[in-house]
Symmetry: C3
C-alpha cells in the first residue's frame, strides 16, 4: 500500500506539472513561464496548505529533487507536444490528474489531522492541496479560476475524498489504507462526474438581470 501510494503521488505530481505546462504553452509563454506554471500547478496547493498550518520545511524545499524533475519536465515537454502528439499528451494526463487530485485531497486532510486540526478544517486543507495549484495557474493566466465556475465537480470530489479520510480514520483504519481509500473515493467520483458530465448548478442572476 505504501509503495502504491508513493507511485500514485509521483504520477499525480507529474500530471499536475504537465497540465500547468500545457496551460503555459497554450498561451505562448516562454521557458520561464513553462517552468513557473508547471511548478505552481504541482506545488501551489501543498505550499498554501503548509503556509496556513505552519508546517516546515515546505515539501519541495525538503525534496528538492522534485524541483529538478519539474524543471527537466518543463524543458523536455516542448519536444513531446510538437507535431500531433499534443492531443495525446492532454488525454494521457487526465487519469493521473484525477489520481493526483484524489490523493492530494487525502494526504492534505491527513497532514492537517496530524497537527490536531478539527475535521472540517482538515478537509478544507485537503481541498486546498488538491485544487489551489490550478487556481493559481488560472490567476497567473488572467482567468477566473475554473473550479469556481466550470462546475465539473472538481473541488466537490476533493471535498468528498477528504470526508472519506475523516470517516476511515474514525473507523480506525490504518493510515495508508485510509489515504488510499479516500483517494479512491475522490477519484471514482471525479471519473463519474467527467464521464456523465455532472455539474453543480450555477446561478447566473447578476448577468441575466432577472434576480
Amino acid at each position: 500500500m505504501e509503495i502504491a501510494l508513493r507511485w500514485a503521488e509521483i504520477a499525480g505530481l507529474i500530471a499536475f506539472a504537465v497540465s500547468g505546462y500545457l496551460e503555459a504553452e497554450r498561451r505562448g509563454m516562454d521557458p520561464i513561464g513553462h517552468f513557473a506554471l508547471a511548478f505552481v500547478a504541482a506545488f501551489g496547493g501543498g505550499t498554501l496548505r503548509d503556509l496556513l498550518i505552519d508546517r516546515r520545511p515546505l515539501f519541495w524545499i525538503h525534496h528538492h529533487e522534485w524541483v529538478v524533475a519539474v524543471l527537466a519536465l518543463s524543458l523536455l515537454l516542448p519536444w513531446f507536444t510538437r507535431r500531433r502528439a499534443r492531443p495525446w499528451v492532454e488525454r494521457a494526463v487526465q487519469w493521473p490528474d484525477a489520481i493526483g487530485m484524489g490523493l492530494f485531497a487525502a494526504t492534505g486532510t491527513a497532514l492537517a489531522f496530524d497537527v490536531g486540526l478539527p475535521a472540517l478544517i482538515a478537509v478544507m486543507m485537503g481541498v486546498i492541496t488538491a485544487t489551489f495549484g490550478g487556481v493559481l495557474v488560472d490567476v497567473l493566466c488572467n482567468e477566473v479560476p475554473r473550479i469556481f465556475r466550470r462546475t465539473e465537480l472538481h473541488a466537490t470530489c476533493a471535498f468528498a475524498g477528504g470526508w472519506a479520510y475523516v470517516g476511515l480514520d474514525a473507523l480506525e483504519a490504518p493510515r495508508s489504507l485510509a489515504i488510499g481509500g479516500a483517494a479512491a473515493v475522490a477519484f471514482a467520483l471525479r471519473m463519474l462526474a467527467v464521464g456523465r458530465g455532472w455539474r453543480l448548478p450555477a446561478l447566473d442572476r447578476g448577468r441575466s438581470g432577472i434576480g
Copy 2:
C-alpha cells in the same frame, strides 16, 4: 464594550462574507465559487496579516465554527437573493460592511501593536486586515482591485481608523475603548465619504497620453 465589539465583529464578518458571495453570484459562479469568495472576503485580510506577522493559529483555524457559518451562509444565500430580494440584501450589507471595515482596521492595528510592531507597520496591518479580502476577491474575479482605483476612501478610512487606535492607545485608553473608538472613526469617515461621494484624486495620464 467587550460585548458590543463581539457583536460588531460578527456583523462585520457576515457582511464581508455576503459581499464576497454576491460578487461570486454576479459572475455566475457555482457553489464552490460562492463559498470560496465568501470565505476569502471574510478571512482573506486577517489571514494575510497573520502570515505577515507570524501569528498562529490563524483566526478561522482557531474558531472553525466561523468556517461552518460562512459555508452555511454561502449555501443559504441563493434562496434570499432570489426574486426581488437581491437589491435589499445589497443595501442591508452596506452598514455592517462599513462597521466591519472600521473594526477590522482597529483590531488589526491592535494585534500588530501587541507583538511590538512600530505604529506605521501596525496601521498598515490594520488596513490589510480591513481591505485585503476585497482585493483578493477582485483578483479572483479577474478585476483590477477596486480599492486601487474606485477611490471611494475605503483604504483611506481604514488608515485613519488605524491611526486613531494608535492615538487612543498613546492616551492610555483601555483596549476595548481604543478599538471601539478607532472603529467609530473609520466607520464615520466611510459613511461621510459614501454619502458625499468623496474620492481621492486619480491620475489618468498614461491613458490620456498627456503626461
Copy 3:
C-alpha cells in the same frame, strides 16, 4: 564593498518602487493604488522568499523606515511625472532596476544559503526575490505576468546571477565579494539582453493551432 552593496540595494529598492508606481499611474489608479503597487514592487519578492523559507521578521517590518520611504515616494512622484518628465523618469529607472534585479537575486540566494538550503532552491529564492514583485504588480493590474511571456531574459539573468553566487561561494570568496560579483553577472547579462534584444524562444502552438 559593504558600503557599495548598501547603496546598490537602496538604488534597487527605489527603482523597483518607482516602476510599480509608474504602472499604477499608467492605469489611472488613485494614491492608494500608487502606494500599494510601489510597495508590492519593492517588497513583494523578498516577502514571498521570507514566507517560503520562514525567515522573520520580514525585511520591511524590521526596517520600517523603508515603508515610510516608499510611502513618501508614492506621494511625491506625481509631481515628477507631470508634464514631460515622465519619459525621463522611465529611462532613469532602467539602470537601477537592472542593478536591483541583479543584487536581489544575489542576496536572495545568499539568504537562502544561510539557512542551509540546497543550491538549486537557494537560486530559485534569488530569482523569486528579484522577480516576484513584478509578477504581483502584473497580477494586480490584471495582466499575464510579463516575465512569463515578454521573454526579455529577466528571470534568466536573475537565475544566472544566483548560480554565479553559488559558484563564488564554492570558491570561498568573501560574502560581500560573492554578492557583488553575482549581482554584476546578472546586471551585465541583463544589459546585454536589453541592448541586443535577446529573448528566449516562445512557443505559440496553442493559439496557432498547428501543434
